[in-house]
């Protein structure tokens, strides 16, 4: 019984992939993507998209980690509640609104887009860093203190490794949202794969629309998968074992 349902599920997946292929051929997306005339444009847009995501994620990760870690230090701990409240409030603001506000204050182009993407990506990273470090058991930290570790040593050898899984989850959420929001950055003149999506919608060109939407989707799924791999590498084996 179990085997049959698993087989049916695999069959269904296969059929779905096949149907997608037929649909792509029918709508001319494959012809559009393999057209040598479109090739430089595709590479340029992909690079722009990648550039937006990479720069904003690099800044956001550093800032988010610094904010999250410094809020767990004894001097700043009392502010962590209010800061997290503001971060939570910031996360409810829609991504399009953040981009639109960045544009109306900073103008159009790549810089306001990177600014908006960075601000939006800091939130999940900072929140998860704080939550991850806070969840480290007090007894573990006491044990580290008893072994004579300094507070810096405790941070790098105990707190961060134990919080790594939660931090990486925050990083993954931020990255996936960032890739999706970068597709909207076209609207404020920063380019990226959104160019083909929005032009495709405006011109009712299904092939162009799909040629933009599919790479963005694949990019997000791939990023999600890669971070999962990364967490298999970075999270210590003992922690992974204790979870199972």
């Amino acid at each position: 019984m179990k085997k049959l349902s698993a087989k049916m599920y695999n069959m269904l997946l296969l059929l779905l992939v096949f149907a997608c292929g037929v649909a792509l051929e029918k709508t001319g997306t494959i012809a559009f993507l393999t057209d040598p005339y479109n090739y430089p444009e595709l590479m340029r847009l992909l690079f722009q998209h990648f550039y937006l995501v990479a720069i904003s994620m690099a800044i956001a990760t550093t800032t988010g980690l610094v904010i999250g870690i410094s809020l767990t230090r004894s001097g700043l701990r009392k502010y962590s509640g209010i800061v997290m409240y503001i971060v939570g409030l910031g996360q409810t603001i829609p991504s399009l609104a953040v981009l639109a506000l960045a544009m109306s204050f900073l103008g159009i182009g790549t810089k306001p887009a990177i600014f908006a993407l960075t601000i939006y990506s800091i939130l999940p990273i900072a929140r998860n860093t704080l939550a991850g470090i806070r969840a480290v058991p007090v007894s573990t930290i006491d044990a580290a203190k008893g072994m004579g570790m300094t507070s810096v040593g405790i941070l790098f050898n105990v707190e961060l490794p134990m919080a790594m899984k939660v931090i990486l989850t925050g990083f993954r959420v931020a990255l996936v949202i960032n890739i999706g929001t970068a597709a909207l950055a076209y609207l404020i003149g920063a380019g990226g794969m959104g160019d083909w999506i929005f032009s495709g919608i405006d011109m009712m060109m299904t092939d162009k629309l799909l040629a933009g939407a599919i790479p963005v989707t694949l990019m997000a799924l791939l990023a999600d998968f890669l971070v999962e791999l990364l967490s298999a590498l970075l999270v210590s084996r003992g922690l992974r074992l204790s979870e199972e």
Binding site: T92, P94, A97, A100, I197, T206, L221
Partner: protein
């Protein structure tokens, strides 16, 4: 102050667009709950299905919203609904599935076995156990899932303005096209306020629907 002036002058339209936004989010949330909660309950009984369902919902969640609109347009165009409110609502329903299913599943899985045993000992059958014990205990977590979904949907519904679904995103879209800062800012601020307001309201509902016993337990834990 230009923003305030803009909203005051176009109050009629602002109200209409807000209504459209509320309509899209509310309708999609109702449909999503009707699908997601039973599905979440169902997969607590069938463990090997649970992983697949949650993984599928996870994949849908990973697809960027504007790309999902793009992917659905040619499909829904076959039935003549490629643009407008229908694809927007379908996308919103799809996105809401992950938080709703996951929270329902986790909440029901986390009902303490001792309580379940107590219910069984009182002679409850499976349905009664679900209705009298599992669901009341799970409700706060399920509502928390709905809250996540609602806030996310408000943001995605704003993007749906680009596929002609209306809503407050129209001000952002047209404001960008016309380089009309007052329009952009009022659109962005209204959408953000709407999201923050709904977040707060749902937090209130979450608190109200928490059974008194669990509230007491939480308070004494603090």
């Amino acid at each position: 102050m230009g923003v305030w002036h803009f909203v005051e002058k176009n109050l009629q339209q602002v109200l209409f667009l807000t209504w459209e936004h509320i309509f899209m989010v509310a309708l999609s949330l109702i449909i999503a709950t009707a699908i997601g909660v039973p599905l979440g309950i169902l997969i607590t009984k069938k463990v090997n299905l649970a992983k697949r369902v949650i993984n599928s919902a996870n994949i849908i969640m990973t697809v960027p919203s504007i790309a999902l609109f793009g992917l659905m347009m040619p499909i829904l165009a076959l039935v003549g609904q490629g643009l407008g409110k229908v694809p927007a609502i379908v996308a919103l329903v799809l996105y809401s599935q992950l938080p709703i299913i996951r929270n329902t599943y986790v909440a029901i899985k986390n009902v303490p076995p001792s309580l379940r045993d107590a219910g069984k000992g009182m002679g409850m059958n499976k349905w009664e156990l679900l209705k009298e014990v599992e669901i009341p205990i799970a409700v706060p977590v399920i509502i928390a899932g709905l809250r996540t979904a609602a806030v996310m949907n408000i943001g995605i519904a704003a993007i749906a303005a680009y596929i002609g679904a209306g809503g407050l995103g129209v001000y952002i879209q047209q404001g960008i096209d016309r380089v009309y800062p007052e329009m952009i800012i009022s659109g962005a601020v209204l959408v953000s306020l709407f999201a923050i307001l709904v977040d707060g309201l749902m937090a209130g509902v979450e608190h109200l629907l928490t059974p008194k016993g669990i509230q007491l337990q939480k308070r004494s834990a603090q």
